[in-house]
């Protein structure tokens, strides 16, 4: 049996054995999109294979085909040499393939144990679910990944990090020989990421074949043995990690070299435009105070769940603070709703693009003009010509790719949706733009474009607040950095006095500015 | 010569009583020869539904409309419109306010019915009298209210009858059943239930049977022999009354025909022929009664239960 533990060959030499899984000629189309065209991929036991590629390259689509969620249009899947098909996710699990998906696959109302075992719960007599055994088994799996979570707890009572651990436990609860991880570290904090790496090593030692998808190059080089690169739904290269390097991989991915340099232009920093003092919320954050100046990029760093998004949404009027004051251009302002924030020149590009940003179902031009309707309409009556004009102006500045402006925004790719959202805000001529994780899950090429654009905006005299969990981005783009931890500010650093270590220590609660010690 | 088209509009389709009335109407049509009956009505007993039906009858320019109304007043504007367009309008069974029809045919007089109900209840009370309750339909129906008023008028003549309450079952089987159950529980000494509605009387008899009170509580009132046969047999109901719906449909058709063909006019004091049923004399409200209700009990139920 292949999935039995074998002594690990610790060196990352190519294992000379047969692939446990081989995909060949896989194609998959969605209406209007060819997500995959004839890709091949091989996974070997005891080996971590990294799958890299730009956004929309088709990585997650491949994962879904592997796990029986999508059916391929063409191509073959071979498991230890035998051709197989997976009509449902259940069949894939039965065949020994398990996955940590990019999207959450959990159920808030069910218990932790049920979340782990839904679909393959242990059965007792008469085929009924054996709850006792399920809970014991769940406890064992959780222990194996080092998570202290009560299997009987309801999932909704857990924090975000625990939920991710449950998702990982779920993937490991089946006896699998192939483990797929689609951006497993995107939502984890530093410590948990380290634990995950250790787990990957253990799985490898047990002889599992691992497919690891990530946009983070440092971790690819750290844990992967082999790589496969997708570009526009095609396989453009594969090989041993030890025989490639960072630049070569990026070139394969993007089709051109991309510099790591952040295009931070020196903008003139002027008078304060936004002053926040003593800002507090009953449960999410407390005692926030800072000043944002004209032409400045202010970075907010912190671990996931530090409360940065909540703070920004309070500044934008989505939630109400319990205490504290805001001054805009010296004038005290009370912001009770996003409409008021927009009127006062503060706009927010949200973190959850699908839910909070783009309005799928409305055409592109209507998305762009939604906050500016008072300007494009006359006495409440719409003027379509004006709307098209405004939409044309701002979407062309952002180099939007779309069939026409009257198309549903939901049909666009993620990157282009993000452009529509940004165009929407630029059209309101704001003074302050808050960008919440503007490059989260965005590929290297698009990232650079976003950064370029931010520089242009500050050069024009706007001010930017940028929330980011990526240290290079924070370091590369910010004029000043504020670190948050558990809802409080724990440090504030000017650009020239900050480095990666300082940030990580402050965010983890080890360091921080003296100014913030009470 | 063209057929005379007479529309028989009922409270709702599917009610046994009205199906029987339709039989009577067909009988009258056959007898008259040149009459076409349009039997119609809404699906549920609402005034709005009846108005829609009447509107389409007006559109078809029928010769006469004979309606058993779901609402005394709500039909008036529509029926007035019908009369304006030259259509003869009468009401029967459940009447329409005087301005909305040429005449109204009551199945019986309210007074006779009220008296009959109390009499039937009194006859089977134990020595010394006892508690009696009324289970009515939703009394948005005109006639139930009138009958109850008449019952209350004759009560002094029956000292043994102690009327305790009136409840409403909305002419819904389940609601009536529950109301009857409520009566049985709230009034442990209850001796009789008067239900002047064919839905209510069946439900009450069923509730009495289910509560094991057959012989203790007598259910009486107005009901259909076909629906009550079982309960008369079991003893839950000693007797009940009803006019003959076949005769009623027959009489209504005859009157409508006579008015539509100008063989009679509806004015106070007029006598209008109802064929084999006799004649009806109109009072100052242009109303008349067909006959007194007929009592059914174990002795004659078998004969009638297959008729209606």
């Amino acid at each position: 049996m292949l999935h039995q533990a074998r002594p690990a060959t610790a060196d990352s030499q190519a294992p000379a054995n047969e692939p446990v899984l081989a995909l060949s000629g896989i194609s998959k189309s969605f209406p209007g999109v060819r997500a995959l065209s004839g890709v091949s991929l091989e996974l070997y036991p005891g080996t971590v294979t990294a799958l890299v590629g730009e956004n929309g390259a088709g990585k997650s689509t491949l994962v879904k085909i592997l796990t029986g969620i999508y059916q391929p249009d063409e191509g073959a899947i071979r498991l230890s040499g035998d051709e197989v098909t997976f009509p449902t996710a259940y069949d894939a699990t039965q065949a020994g393939i398990t996955a940590i998906h990019q999207e959450t696959v959990l159920f808030d109302e069910l218990s932790v144990a049920e979340n782990i075992y839904l679909g393959h719960a242990p059965r007792g007599r008469l085929g009924f679910i054996d709850r006792g055994r399920m809970n014991r088994d769940a406890a064992a799996v959780l222990k194996r990944i080092g998570a202290a979570i009560d299997p009987d707890a309801r999932l909704r009572d857990l924090g975000i990090a625990s939920k991710h651990l449950v998702a990982i436990a779920r993937a490991l609860s089946v006896e699998a020989r192939i483990v797929v991880m689609d951006e497993p570290t995107a939502a984890l904090s530093y410590k948990e990421i380290e634990e995950l790496y250790a787990l990957v090593e253990r799985l490898k030692a047990e002889g599992k074949a691992i497919l690891f998808i990530s946009h983070k190059f440092d971790e690819i080089f750290r844990i992967a043995d082999r790589y496969t690169v997708f570009r526009d739904g095609e396989c453009v290269g594969a090989g041993l990690i030890s025989e490639t390097d960072h630049d070569a991989l990026v070139r394969l991915m993007v089709g051109r070299p991309v510099g790591q340099i952040f295009p931070k232009r020196e903008a003139e920093i002027g008078e304060p435009v936004l002053t926040v003092s003593g800002y507090s919320h009953p449960t999410e954050f407390a005692d926030i105070g800072f000043e944002l100046k004209r032409g400045e990029i202010l970075g907010f760093y912190g671990l996931v769940g530090a409360g940065r998004s909540e703070l920004m949404q309070a500044l934008f009027g989505v939630t109400r603070p319990s205490k504290g004051a805001i001054r805009i251009g010296g004038e005290v302002a009370v912001i009770r709703s996003p409409a008021e924030a927009i009127r006062r020149g503060i706009v927010y590009v949200p973190e959850e693009r699908g839910r909070q940003g783009a309005i799928a179902g409305l055409p592109i031009f209507q998305n762009v003009t939604l906050p500016s309707l008072s300007r494009t309409s006359r006495q409440g009556f719409l003027r379509l010509a004006e709307e098209f004009k405004l939409a044309r102006e701002y979407t062309s500045r952002l180099d939007l790719r779309a069939a026409a402006l009257d198309r549903d925004v939901g049909t666009l790719s993620g990157g282009n949706q993000q452009k529509v959202v940004i165009a929407k805000w630029l059209a309101t001529s704001p003074k302050v733009i808050i960008l919440d994780e503007p490059t989260k899950g965005i590929d290297i090429g698009s990232k650079a474009a976003v950064h370029e654009f931010m520089s242009e905006l500050v050069a024009q005299g706007l001010s930017i607040i940028m929330v980011s969990s990526e240290i290079p981005e924070i370091l590369g783009m910010s004029d000043r950095v504020i670190v948050m931890r558990e809802g409080r500010m724990v440090g504030e650093y000017p650009r020239e006095k900050v480095d990666a270590e300082t940030l990580v220590r402050a965010a983890a609660g080890i360091g921080g500015n003296d100014a913030f010690r009470k | 010569q063209d057929n005379v088209r007479i529309a028989l509009v009922v409270k709702a389709l599917g009610i046994g009583f009205f199906e029987a009335a339709n039989e009577g109407a067909q009988e009258a049509a056959e007898e008259l020869g040149n009459v076409e009956i349009i039997y119609t009505g809404p699906t549920d007993t609402t005034a709005e539904g009846q108005i829609e039906v009447i509107n389409s009858l007006i559109a078809q320019n029928v010769d006469a409309i004979a309606v058993s109304a779901n609402d005394t007043d709500a039909l008036v504007p529509t029926l007035k419109k019908a009369m304006d367009r030259g259509i003869t309008v009468i009401s029967w069974d459940s009447g329409v306010a005087p301005e909305g029809r040429e005449m109204n045919l009551n199945p019986s007089s309210n007074q006779l019915i009220g008296e009959m109900c109390v009499k039937m209840a009194a006859e089977h009370l134990p020595e010394g009298g006892g508690e009696v309750a009324i289970l009515s339909a939703s009394a948005t129906h005109t006639n139930q209210n009138n009958w109850i008023a008449e019952m209350k008028k004759v009560l002094p003549e029956y000292p043994e009858v102690n009327l305790v309450t009136t409840v409403y079952g909305d002419d819904l089987a389940d609601k009536s059943y529950r109301e009857a159950q409520g009566l049985i529980q709230s009034y442990p000494d209850l001796k009789a239930i008067i239900a002047p509605t064919s839905v209510g009387i069946v439900a009450a008899a069923q509730a009495v049977t289910d509560a094991g009170k057959v012989g203790e509580i007598n259910v009486t009132g107005l009901g259909l022999p076909s629906e009550m046969a079982g309960h008369v047999e079991s003893g839950a109901s000693k007797s009940f009354a009803i006019w003959n719906p076949i005769d009623l449909g027959y009489a209504a058709t005859m009157i409508a025909y006579n008015l539509a063909t100008d063989q009679a006019t509806a004015e106070p004091g007029a006598e209008i022929s109802m064929g084999r049923v006799g004649t009806v004399t109109l009072d100052e409200n242009r109303e008349g009664a067909m006959a007194e209700p007929f009592v059914y009990d174990a002795s004659n139920i078998d004969k009638f239960k297959d008729i209606f």
């Binding site: 996710a89 959990l106 679910i129 309801r154 409360g307 | 159950q181």
Partner: protein, 326 residues
């Protein structure tokens, strides 16, 4: 603390007990065991229907056609009984259940294969089913004397002190409790309603699960169809008219979330019982029955408001310092 869910049912039970106490204060007879058994018996059909509706609502769907389904199957078995009194009652019940399941499956197929929103599907079938009854019966009633004695006697037959009708409800409650908590299908109902996308990832066929929920709900409606016509000993087009909203209301009062994925068998049963107690108590305590509608309306609004409050998170408590201090 994870037993928040349980506390919701406890609270509803407490409200019902309080209600009973209040009634008993003015009318002690109401809480005599025999009468309470009566109330339960009277509520049995609503309980069975609420259990069916619960499955459908759990999967984030809704079935407005349950009452029409009940009426159609009820009429069908009544007509069959009237035409062929020789057919044994158990067979009739089985036929009713099958017919109900078929009607439910029709809803389910439209939701599953044609992907019409459930509310539209059942709005349509609600009128279609009623219409079919009319076509079937020609609008005529089936009356007590047309039904065989066995047909009418079955739900009333006493068994260990309770009528068979009550026993059927009890069995259905037990059965449903097992199905919901102990079978993969039962858990799939929660998964499909709680997070349909994620359900696909766990190998659950969302459409098929919904189809099964509709089919089972239909089967329960079919069973209720027989129980209804035999209990009230009459069948006509309009029986149980408007009852579909009572069924949903019972579920809502019982804490089953209309958004899917939340609810329990206990909740559905208690929600239905609340209705039963109010309906039965009003005539007894001499409150005009005209109050009943307003009371149930207020109860629905209060229940929804309360459940929404209970579901709303107390905030995520990022400020752990404060949490620790508390």
């Amino acid at each position: 603390m994870a037993k928040l869910l349980k506390s919701r049912e406890l609270l509803l039970a407490a409200v019902i007990v309080l209600l009973l106490t209040a009634i008993a204060w003015r009318f002690p007879g109401f809480v005599r065991p025999r009468n309470l058994a009566n109330v339960f018996n009277d509520t049995s059909i609503l309980i069975i229907l609420a259990l069916g509706q619960m499955m459908v609502i759990l999967t984030r769907c809704i079935d407005l056609s349950m009452a029409a389904n009940l009426a159609l199957t009820g009429m069908a078995v009544a007509m069959l009984n009237a035409a062929m009194p020789g057919i044994p009652v158990p067979l009739l019940i089985a036929l009713g259940v099958l017919l109900g399941a078929a009607l439910g499956a029709f809803n389910g197929v439209l939701v599953w294969k044609v992907e019409i929103p459930p509310i539209v599907v059942t709005l349509g079938t609600l009128t279609i089913f009623r219409g079919i009854i009319f076509l079937m019966s020609g609008g005529a009633w089936i009356n007590a004397h047309q039904m065989s004695a066995a047909f009418k006697a079955f739900p009333r037959a006493p068994l260990l002190g309770l009528p068979v009708l009550s026993w059927i409800a009890l069995i259905m409650i037990a059965l449903m409790a097992v199905v919901i908590t102990r079978t993969p299908l039962g858990r799939a109902f929660y998964a499909v309603g709680g997070n349909p996308t994620a359900a696909v990832y766990t190998g659950i066929d969302v459409g098929r699960t919904r189809f099964l929920a509709f089919t089972f709900a239909g089967a329960l409606a079919g069973l209720s169809g027989y129980l209804w016509v035999s209990r009230y000993a009459v069948a006509y087009v309009d029986i149980a008219g408007g009852f579909e909203l009572d069924i949903i209301a019972a579920c809502v009062i019982g804490g089953i979330s209309i958004a899917g994925g939340i609810g329990s068998v206990g909740g559905a049963v208690l929600g239905a019982l609340f209705f039963g107690v109010v309906k039965n108590a009003l005539p007894v305590i001499n409150i005009s029955p005209f109050w009943q509608l307003a009371i149930s309306g207020s109860a629905i609004i209060l229940a929804v408001a309360f459940n929404a409050r209970a579901e709303r998170k107390k905030g995520r408590l990022i400020l752990r310092n404060r949490e620790a201090a508390a």
